[in-house]
């Protein structure tokens, strides 16, 4: 599992793999757009018709929603509720937790169906879990060598001051 107290680093290689999985899911599920978000509300990747939605807001609200739902689950003695579905008049949102660590959001309309989305999400989740296992393994391998994964190791006070000038 990703350590919640370290920096989460996503390299190009894994970013491409993740993008490929959600691109395929988009086609297979006939969805409008797909977002992959970490549990802290950071957007990891997205695909499809994403221009019409404020992705940053979507990410933080989804993470808040998952956090609140997770709290509810614990209250009644469940580990988590892995899937949520919100039905709208035109568009629907399918939210699922992948490998206990990231959140997969699929937005779809009448051109798809809940059954199809659920089916395709299940398959994509397995692939994504493998990719995030690899990311975790990479992170663990770099423990003790923080500078290697950290582009900020070399920043100076001046660099930081310049941000505020």
């Amino acid at each position: 599992m990703l350590n919640t107290q370290t920096t989460f680093v996503l390299y190009d290689e894994e970013a491409e793999k993740v993008k490929e999985v959600i691109d395929n899911l988009l086609k297979a599920s006939n969805a409008k757009s797909i977002y992959l978000i970490d549990k802290n509300g950071q957007m990891i990747a997205s695909t499809g018709n994403v221009a019409e939605i404020d992705a940053t807001s979507l990410a933080s609200l989804t993470a808040g929603n998952i956090a609140a739902t997770g709290g509810l689950a614990k209250l009644i003695g469940e580990k988590e509720f892995a899937i949520q579905f919100h039905e709208g008049e035109k568009d629907n949102i399918h939210i699922s937790i992948v490998g206990s660590r990231v959140i997969l959001v699929v937005i779809f309309d009448q051109r798809s169906s809940l059954g199809l989305v659920r089916l395709r999400v299940k398959k994509a989740s397995n692939t994504l879990t493998t990719i995030f296992d690899e990311i975790s393994a990479k992170e663990n391998a770099q423990d003790g060598m923080p500078g290697r994964a950290n582009p900020f190791a070399e920043i100076t006070d001046d660099d930081i001051d310049n941000l505020f000038s």
């Binding site: 807001s57 956090a67 070399e154």
Partner: protein, 196 residues
Amino acid sequence: MSFINYASREINCKIVYYGPGLCGKTTNLQYIYQKTANESKGKMISLATESERTLFFDFLPLALGEVRGFKTRFHLYTVPGQVFYDASRKLILKGVDGIVFVADSQEERMDANIESLENLKENLEEQGYDLYKLPFVIQYNKQDLPNISPIEELRRFLNPTKVPEFKACAMSGVGVFETLKAIAKLVLMDLKKGTR
């Protein structure tokens, strides 16, 4: 937990504004939102009750500029201050990179400040964090009001370890950006060290 994305050359950090009910956490974010250029800010989200008390959180994404080719983005969150929303506060602290404690400087709110600070420490400890090892600054808000505690007293009860502290009046904006800059700097310095 900060998030470094090599694909989009971005770094994202999470800053949480904590403090007792009605101390001015949301007002801090609203002032930052009002005074930030459109290209540097995203939409501000407030999950609040009808009487504008924060129910779950406020959220404001800010882009500060580039450091070493990486866009720095700060996600500012507030917690609901009222005591009975503790379950929600715990959720918002998950993955935090830096904390701003907003104190209400009025004499009659000293107890509420102390209680909220203790609550912050406890909630962080539950998640394995030590407040004094995190990037942490304190803001003494509402300095424009007549019935405020002397700064020495605020300091004695709320800032024993002498973290950076700022006097503020969030309504008029005094001290708001100074506080934000201080916490952003500490978070970036922390990233530089790579200790977490």
